[in-house]
Symmetry: C2
Subunit: 227 residues, 2 copies
DNA sequence: TTATTTTTGATAGTAAAACTATCAAACAAG
DNA sequence: CTTGTTTGATAGTTTTACTATCAAAAATAA
């Protein structure tokens, strides 16, 4: 898959997510880059700001100036990923006239867009995608979900879903569940990859690469549903 | 929907989940029943054994004799739910000859089986289902997933999925992704309910009851996929 | 009924997590 | 060179997530 051009893609996220923009300072940028590696290594539950500070030769207090807590950092990382994915989709589909072909491209990006992206040298894309697969649900599966949603913390995920809904509606404007279908496809893309890696009896053992099998499943699901 | 007969359904779970069988003692049974209410109230992250002990007029140390930690308790609760659901499905479908009709019944139970069940007076079914919707993914989205799986902690979920896969294969034996389809249906049933309650733009606003709309979505998805 | 095993409660304690506060040093910008 | 911003260093608090010990109570077996 071709990547977006190497023009140092700048992603703007809702500033309610952080206390201070981590992209604005050196420590902030290192915080984000290193947290991706550390959360990927040890999992979100075992990750702490203290451990991250040690890796950065900084202090806990310094990191707490950027994010209220580690949950907000997770929201930041996954939001960044959703924004990046939406950009990838827009870039690769914007001059594709046929809606069906656009959906196929979307599904292909969804299932294959986790290789290190040269346009974002500051971030380990592959590690970030593993975080998205393993941890993204925890961003909204909390008691504070309504409060966080009102603050706009899930804006990027909703914007991504909305952009794909438009493609679905372009294919079949009478299909009654376009939003449910899109969120199901988005969730299934991650969940099935997780199952393939950890609980393989919950998915189908591929004779080819996992990503291609996953694409086959989602494509069949989407197109038979949309007719 | 009719319920299973009131014969005090006894569910046997993998004894690797607990240190001591909570169903064997009075404190153990109260632990389980009260933990359902408390986790439902405050969410899994804010739930602690100390708070539970206070509600039970017991002590932290006593509760730690039943479960290694709160994660194991969560695994216990959701496993109990999956076992109960599998029982409901078997009970309601065992004399239905047509595979398509059996799948419809499965989907109806999946989307509607969260009303208080008279056959289990010791547990608040509705609260437990809210826990399953909000917290069940956290049972396996951990760094310890492979270790926990080897210990058999996800046996009930896998058994439930396998039983539904058999129904799917009865409908269309040549469909190449039966396991992926079933786990997607199981996950979507919960996730879409969560979205309907908290992030409604990710699902389709129903003109009827949420459960009926969800059933409609899943039925359409399953049957158009299976042909 | 007594003896024995099991279960619980009470108490105490530890290590780590999840923060918050303060202040001086470093540094960057005007 | 002054001012504002950022960081580091240090210290401290509360809560979480446990573990250990021992006596009391309760269940069970002889």
């Amino acid at each position: 898959m071709d990547s977006a051009p190497n023009t140092s893609l700048r992603i703007e996220l809702n500033d309610k997510i952080f206390l201070r923009d981590p992209q604005a300072t050196d420590l902030g940028r290192r915080l984000v880059a290193e947290s991706v590696l550390l959360i990927d290594e040890m999992g979100f539950e075992h990750f702490t700001f203290k451990k991250l500070a040690q890796r950065l030769n900084s202090t806990e207090a310094s990191l707490y100036r950027y994010f209220e807590n580690k949950h907000r950092l997770l929201v930041y990382l996954v939001s960044w990923y959703w924004a990046w994915l939406r950009y990838q989709i827009r870039f690769h589909t914007h001059n594709v006239p046929d809606a069906r072909e656009r959906l196929r491209l979307v599904l292909r990006i969804l299932t294959h867009a986790h290789y290190d992206d040269p346009s974002t040298p500051q971030l380990d894309e592959a590690a970030l995608y593993r975080i998205v697969v393993n941890e993204a649900s925890k961003a909204y599966l909390t008691k504070e979900v309504d409060h966080d949603d009102q603050a706009g913390l899930f804006r990027e995920y909703k914007a991504l879903a909305a952009s794909i809904v438009a493609v679905v509606q372009g294919i079949n404007p009478t299909y009654p569940y376009p939003h449910a279908l899109v969120s199901t496809l988005l969730e299934a893309a991650r969940k099935q990859l997780f199952f393939a890696q950890h609980l393989p009896s919950l998915t189908d053992t591929p004779t080819m690469a996992v990503e291609d099998a996953l694409y086959g499943f989602l494509e069949h699901l989407a197109f038979s549903t949309l007719g």
